[in-house]
């Protein structure tokens, strides 16, 4: 019986050691939350829409198509700002709009289903939107001159 109990204890000790080793080795390999610590990139564009007959900028052609396909039609679109933003989660980026208003963009989470972001366009709207990469979120940003400002945000694929 003695040797049997000794073998039992040895087996239990080995199993315990194995569990500890597994836990220790598994912890460093645990995949990190993709939404933490990784920069979130998105394309930002500010466009003035009007019906002054000046035409559509080449850079605003896609935007104009998206709007007109939903029934929002202007004969002119002028790109005023265009840049790529790099933001961390919960980092707030303020965009100064030509009409004196400000837009605040704050990514809340990034995951497999896209970027969840809070956008506040002063004097217009506040919204929480989740968008996958290459999905464009278009906000109207108030009147400007004889037309209207539009803010476009489009998350970029992290790869």
């Amino acid at each position: 019986m003695t040797w049997y109990r000794a073998a039992q204890r040895a087996a239990a000790a080995l199993a315990l050691l194995g569990l500890c080793a597994g836990a220790a080795s598994a912890d460093p390999q645990k995949p990190k939350d993709p939404g933490k610590g990784k920069a979130i990139q998105m394309r930002m564009m500010v466009t003035r829409l009007s019906n002054d007959g000046s035409g559509v900028d080449p850079g605003a052609k896609e935007l104009e198509n998206k709007l007109s396909s939903q029934g929002i039609r202007y004969d002119s679109a002028e790109v005023l700002q265009k840049k790529r933003l790099k933001l961390g989660v919960d980092e707030v980026r303020t965009i100064d709009l030509p009409n004196g208003r400000k837009a605040h963009v704050r990514p809340l989470h990034q995951g497999a289903d896209g970027v969840l972001m809070a956008v506040d366009v002063e004097g217009s709207s506040k919204a929480d939107v989740r968008a996958k990469p290459n999905h464009t979120v278009i906000f109207s940003a108030g009147p400007y001159q004889d037309g209207k400002l539009v803010l476009s945000l489009e998350p970029v694929d992290p790869e």
Binding site: N51, S69, R73, L116, S125, A127, V137, P143
Partner: protein
């Protein structure tokens, strides 16, 4: 009379009533009839009992109370048939419910799964974007997400907006 009456024992009195009511066995009836033949008092008592029965039967026959049995019997039979049919149908119903219970549970589960995974979570991959919350501070706003690659949050800026969209300026 009194002596005769006293002569009739209590057991004979009981036997007389039992004989009159036809409750005696064949052997008991034979024995009592033998006693009855030798006892005029018992014979008179028996005759009295038979007269009383005849009077009661005559009274029953002339009663004004209507005999409802013939009219009640078909109803009772119908009621029994209904009760039997009800029991059968209830049994069938229970059988159906017994069969439907797991199917219903499966259907409900499938509906919940479809509602949760097909309705809520699937909306994001289908459109690529999901508006979770919006506040336009009382301004008229359109949310357009028919295009799977685009979500448009469009606040209408007064009369100019309607005119620019080619519609009536007072219609949002």
């Amino acid at each position: 009379m009194t002596g005769e009456h006293d002569a009739m024992s209590g057991s004979n009195d009981e036997l007389l009533h039992a004989y009159h009511d036809g409750e005696l066995s064949r052997l008991g009836r034979w024995r009592f009839e033998r006693t009855l033949r030798h006892s005029p008092a018992l014979q008179r008592e028996l005759a009295s009992l038979r007269q009383m029965r005849g009077a009661l039967q005559a009274l029953d026959g002339t009663a004004d109370a209507p005999d409802l049995w013939e009219s009640l019997r078909p109803r009772l039979a119908g009621a029994r048939a209904k009760a039997r049919d009800g029991a059968i149908s209830e049994g069938r119903g229970r059988g159906i419910i017994w069969w439907l219970a797991p199917l219903g549970a499966a259907a409900a589960t499938a509906a919940v799964v479809l509602a949760v995974y097909g309705g809520f979570f699937a909306s994001s991959p289908a459109t690529g974007g999901t508006l979770r919350w919006i506040d336009s501070e009382g301004r008229s706003v359109m949310v357009l997400d028919d295009d799977p690659d685009t979500t448009i949050i469009w606040v209408l800026d007064g009369a100019m907006e309607g005119a620019a969209r080619g519609g009536r300026s007072d219609v949002v």
